[in-house]
């Protein structure tokens, strides 16, 4: 009888150990679900969805609280407050746009809740010396540096024309390109900022063609990239290289338009064929689940959610611990090696390696830097075919 009771007690003590299945964490996610940025915001949501599936397999049960910032900074602020004070999440991933990220970066400090920004590119956000804000992606200046660095290595361009959309991303991209040009002996012969959504860029492109630039540096989101390339072909603009910085050039839709997109370069945070662990399988899964190729928005959101949820689980949802672990941690996933460090005036910034893709025969191929490249770049631009 005594032995039986001891056995019973022992078993009862073991039950919690067996019942300890998944770790539960509560994570907040702020995104542009509606509003003008919704098309790209959707990529982030999809990336997060896949992340949640993977986390579940790892034994981490994420209670995700989604908030829509509609692209407006004050709504992002309301969302952050709600997540931090009412939902009591362990950490927050997001938002998408730079202006929303700028508005809430200081809130992270105020409410001592870690904020992991997946892909907003405005440099200033992580140059404020904030201890609770972390960023995964490279910043705007990196978009320009990698493209122009490549161009100067492959050819000897002397002149550059800049076309950028008149938005935050476009203007800071143009600024970075100009700074690079000043430091590296490139002359900017034309600089045109356009309002996105315009149906006709022909006159702009014609005046750029007149200045005969060696390379054309373009910063575009949305489908303006398609219009710009289409109309460049019409006008007969044919420089040594088309350097596209920005999501517009990264899209599958542009790649499909082979007549106009062949041999266009674009700088990107991630490609499907880069040799980082899990990149390709992620891309395949994404296509299967959502019917289209993932963009780097999806991959950065995925990795950010993985990092945040894993960290929250390790820290048992203690916010100070989360911040501490983010600061000290190292990861190596489909975004390559990730560590949040301080450098060049940045705080908690992951020194992310940007990549350059080139559209070759309707597909995006990683061509630069050589260490991560799958194919060789075609330079200079062979001209518009028939």
């Amino acid at each position: 009888m005594k032995r039986f009771i001891v056995l019973l007690i022992a078993l009862t003590l073991l039950v919690p150990a067996f019942a300890h299945g998944a770790t539960k964490v509560k994570v907040g996610f702020i995104n542009s679900i509606t509003g003008p940025e919704a098309p790209i915001g959707e990529n982030l949501s999809n990336g997060v969805t896949l992340a949640l599936e993977d986390l579940k397999k790892q034994g981490i049960d994420v209670d995700l609280v989604k908030e829509d910032d509609t692209g407006k900074p004050e709504k992002a602020m309301a969302a952050f407050e709600k997540l931090s004070t009412r939902d009591n999440v362990a950490g927050i991933v997001g938002p998408y746009t730079s202006k929303c990220a700028a508005a809430i970066s200081k809130l992270a400090e105020k409410y001592k809740t870690a904020l992991l920004i997946p892909v907003s590119s405005k440099e200033d956000i992580t140059k404020q010396g904030l201890k609770w804000t972390f960023r995964l992606s490279a910043t705007t200046e990196d978009y320009a540096t990698i493209l122009l660095g490549m161009a100067q290595t492959l050819g000897k361009p002397k002149t550059m024309a800049i076309i950028n959309e008149n938005t935050d991303f476009g203007t800071s991209g143009a600024k970075s390109a100009k700074e690079y040009a000043a430091k590296h002996g490139l002359t900017v012969v034309a600089e045109e900022a356009y309002a996105p959504g315009s149906p006709d860029y022909r006159s702009t492109l014609a005046s750029i063609k007149g200045k005969n630039p060696n390379v054309v540096f373009m910063v575009s989101y949305v489908a303006d990239a398609i219009l710009l390339m289409r109309q460049s072909r019409e006008i007969g603009l044919s420089p040594q290289a088309f350097l596209g910085a920005g999501a517009g050039f990264d899209t599958v839709q542009l790649a499909k338009e082979q007549e106009i997109s062949n041999n266009v370069f674009s700088s990107t945070q991630w490609t499907r064929d880069v040799n980082w662990p899990g990149a390709k399988s992620f891309a395949d899964r994404y296509v299967k689940a959502f019917g289209k190729e993932p963009t780097y928005h999806a991959s950065t959101a995925y990795e950010s959610m993985i990092i945040m949820a894993q960290t929250a689980a390790k820290a048992a949802s203690n916010r100070d611990r989360v911040r501490d672990l983010l600061r000290k941690g190292k990861w190596n996933g489909l975004m390559g090696e990730v560590a949040f460090i301080d450098y060049s005036g940045y705080t908690n910034q992951n020194h992310h390696q940007m990549l350059v893709e080139q559209i070759q025969h309707g597909k995006h191929e990683t061509v630069w830097p050589p260490k991560f490249a799958g194919k060789k770049p075609v330079y200079p631009f062979p001209g518009w075919g028939k």
């Binding site: 509606t34 003008p36 919704a38 098309p39 959707e42 008149n166 045109e192 900022a193 356009y194 309002a195 959504g197 315009s198 149906p199 006709d200 860029y201 022909r202 006159s203 702009t204 014609a206 005046s207 007149g210 949305v222 489908a223 398609i226 219009l227 289409r230 109309q231 072909r233 019409e234 006008i235 007969g236 839709q253 499909k256 338009e257 007549e259 106009i260």
Partner: protein, 288 residues
């Protein structure tokens, strides 16, 4: 110099599409004095209809206007009968808010149904162009221009020579007098809105091979439509045609001289100048 000519030609061609949008709005405003902020969204509906006809049934966008135009006419007529009709006598700001609300409903319903993804309608001739003396002319735009001209001519004939057309013009000129003359002004309003909607949708169809499609695309065009309508003179079809082409040219050439960032300002400044010095528009008649 060739840059200027290039700008001029592209401006004229895109102006043709603008003109179609403006004509639709001018008919609506002329007949009903309603400021239709949902006009761009009607264009958007036309674009989506064209896209799905192309994607599902491979109907060429230019040919599909045979289907889209009458369809959108019915749509517009329905909208007028059920909703817009109630605010014809309301304060202008209420009309504006109502049409804004309608526009929001239209664009968000489409967004929920088809997601906000950008849709590209790429035809074999989307990127083709002709080269004349160093100037490149976009082929699809030339075709749209031709179709626009044809539609404008047909519309003009309709307004001048048919009874219904003249009834519409009468209503636009003086609603009360027309009513006294036995014209069913309610019916005229329905026809006018239907007509305006179908023209906007047609413009959308015409521009879809060379532009891109997403739920909020309308907002870009609504404001421009107003500028064109006022420029040409509220209620004047020929005025709107001229206005459209003028705005196209102003944008294009302005972009070359002031930098593309200032393009919109050129259009708005032109707009204000016209409003100040000839408020009835280039071809409008002076009317309080």
């Amino acid at each position: 110099m060739s840059i200027l000519i290039q700008a001029l030609i592209s401006g004229i061609l895109i102006g043709g599409v603008y003109a179609l949008i403006g004509i639709g709005l001018t008919i609506i405003f002329g007949v009903m004095r309603v400021i239709n902020f949902a006009h761009g969204d009607l264009l958007m509906l036309g674009m989506y209809a064209t896209y799905y006809l192309f994607a599902a049934a491979h109907v060429d966008p230019f040919l599909s206007i045979v289907i889209t135009t009458p369809l959108m006419f019915l749509c517009g007529a329905f909208l007028q009968k059920t909703i817009i009709n109630r605010v014809l006598d309301a304060l202008p700001q209420n009309q504006i808010l109502l049409t804004i609300g309608l526009g929001l409903i239209m664009s968000n319903t489409i967004m929920l149904a088809f997601t906000s993804d950008y849709k590209i309608l790429s035809t074999k001739y989307s990127s083709s162009s002709m080269h004349v003396g160093g100037i490149s002319i976009s082929s699809p735009l030339v075709i749209s221009f031709a179709i626009t001209a044809a539609i404008t001519a047909a519309l003009y004939w309709f307004l001048l020579k048919t009874d219904t057309g003249q009834a519409i013009r009468a209503t636009a000129q003086d609603r009360e007098a027309a009513r006294l003359m036995g014209i069913n002004v309610k019916r005229m309003s329905i026809i006018a809105f239907g007509l305006g909607s179908s023209l906007a949708a047609t413009a959308g169809a015409l521009i879809s091979p060379t532009y891109y499609i997403f739920p909020q695309v309308g907002s870009v065009f609504t404001l421009k439509a107003f500028v064109i309508t006022v420029l040409g003179g509220m209620g004047s079809v020929v005025g709107a045609t001229l206005g459209g082409v003028l705005i196209g040219i102003a944008e294009s050439v302005g972009g070359v001289y002031f930098g593309s960032g200032w393009k919109e300002v050129v259009v708005f400044v032109l707009f204000l100048l016209v409003l100040l010095f000839k408020p009835s528009g280039l071809l409008g008649k002076s009317r309080t």
